[in-house]
């Protein structure tokens, strides 16, 4: 249930975003994110986009590890 789905926003209209998750397309609510635009990446949970995200987890890991070492 808590599994989030990261996806790319294809378009946004009237509080609804069409997302593309590795080729699977679905409409989700965009009500909880401001200024969402096509091309953004989002985390989707239970049919609702809950966070704007960056695409790469490697870049993130590099930054966290650099702060650690």
């Amino acid at each position: 249930m808590c599994v989030g789905l990261s996806a790319k926003v294809v378009n946004v209209k009237d509080g609804t975003a069409l997302i593309d998750a590795n080729g699977a397309k679905r409409e989700v609510s965009a009500d909880l994110l401001e200024d969402l635009e096509p091309g953004d990446y989002v985390m989707v949970h239970a049919g609702v986009a809950i966070a704007k995200i960056t695409e790469s987890d490697e870049e993130e890991a590099n930054d966290v590890m650099e702060g650690l070492l």
Partner: protein, 348 residues
């Protein structure tokens, strides 16, 4: 494996500090860690224990009984995340209730249940709203949408929960927490900062191999210092402020209440219920539901598993009477449950 991942792995395998118990709060973390084989990297003095972060697993037996009462006594159509359908109630699961005529439909989102109510005005649709801060906004959106549209055939049976008071109830269970990243995507990081000030350590972790390796390495590196710490290891999703529109929506639609957690008992102000302004969408009020108390199976040790007090394989029914095909407890049903993870990936 990239250079940073190798460094993280080296920190983990070469850890020689004090013995550590790390609690994966989120059931998805438990499953990913098993699936990726990360447990095999850990030295003997580091133990991973599962926590109460699977919403299906912490939902008490009585909640299932309430849903069955709505279906069988009131003729409501029950819509739910699929995981809940096979969770045992006192006498039967929702799957068992189907055999007695209950209509139970799995949905991906509470908003799908609202759409079902729009399309079927002759049916009374009830959505089973379980979950933590991650899921609560979608239930609130459903209630808000139904209210705006004046839908009279949609309501929620709520068992939503919040994490901060659960951490307090778990005090002493672990030396550090792997905080559930998607809860913090909504709440932000202030909860974790506050916990650090109270002496509780942890890191916010993502769910990929790289993110989990990094998070574990950060815990082990900080544990050497022997002072409370908090690091957000999932900044690509979790921002310090969280998601303010989601927080505002929850504040508008729901309010805190005492609630029962399977295994942990009633934790004061750790639940969320609909505010009076949304009473028409509260299934308990709408159908004048009597108080229904569930009786868990005494053989099941899910409650202790959820607190990290025992491992699934310490339970005498695990893997014998209790299997994914015939679950006795909720932790064996849900894809995020600790017992299901141990059964699927090893530990028998």
């Amino acid at each position: 494996m990239n250079e940073q991942a190798k460094k993280a792995r080296d920190i983990i395998v070469n850890y020689k500090g004090r013995p550590l118990r790390i609690m994966e709060v989120c059931g998805t973390h438990t499953h990913e860690i098993f699936k990726l084989g990360l447990r095999k990297l850990l030295p003997e003095n580091v133990e991973l224990i599962s926590g109460p972060g699977c919403p299906v697993c912490v939902t008490p037996v009585g909640f299932i009984d309430e849903a069955i009462w709505l279906a069988l006594e009131k003729g409501c159509v029950i819509t739910t995340f699929g995981d809940l359908i096979r969770v045992p109630g006192t006498e039967m699961s929702l799957a068992g209730a189907r055999a007695k005529g209950a209509v139970v439909r799995p949905v991906y989102s509470p908003l799908d249940a609202v759409e079902m109510a729009r399309q079927n005005p002759d049916e009374q649709i009830v959505f089973l709203a379980v979950g933590f801060e991650t899921t609560t906004p979608s239930a609130c959106l459903a209630a808000e949408t139904a209210k705006k549209e004046g839908l009279t055939n949609f309501s929620l049976l709520t068992a939503n929960k919040t994490m901060p008071n659960a951490y307090a109830a778990l005090e002493g269970s672990a030396d550090a927490f792997l905080y559930p990243g998607h809860v913090n995507a909504i709440t932000g990081t202030s909860i974790c900062e506050d916990l650090k000030d109270k002496g509780v350590s942890g890191v916010i972790a993502g769910f990929t191999a790289s993110e989990l390796l990094t998070a574990l390495a950060v815990i082990l590196k900080n544990a050497e210092k022997d002072e409370p710490f908090f690091v957000n290891c999932y900044p690509r999703v979790v921002k310090p402020e969280g998601n303010p529109p989601a927080q505002k929506l929850i504040e508008k639609v729901m309010e805190p209440c005492d609630t029962e957690w399977r295994g942990l008992g009633v934790i004061p102000m750790s639940g969320m219920k609909l505010r009076d302004e949304y009473a028409d969408f509260d299934a308990r009020k709408k159908y004048a539901m009597p108080e229904i108390k569930g009786r868990p199976n005494p053989a099941c040790r899910c409650g202790e598993v959820l607190q990290g007090k025992c491992k699934p394989c310490d339970c005498k029914v695990f893997g014998k009477v209790c299997t994914p095909e015939h679950p006795v407890g909720a932790c064996m049903v849900s894809d995020e449950g600790a017992c299901a993870a141990y059964y699927q990936y090893g530990g028998i």
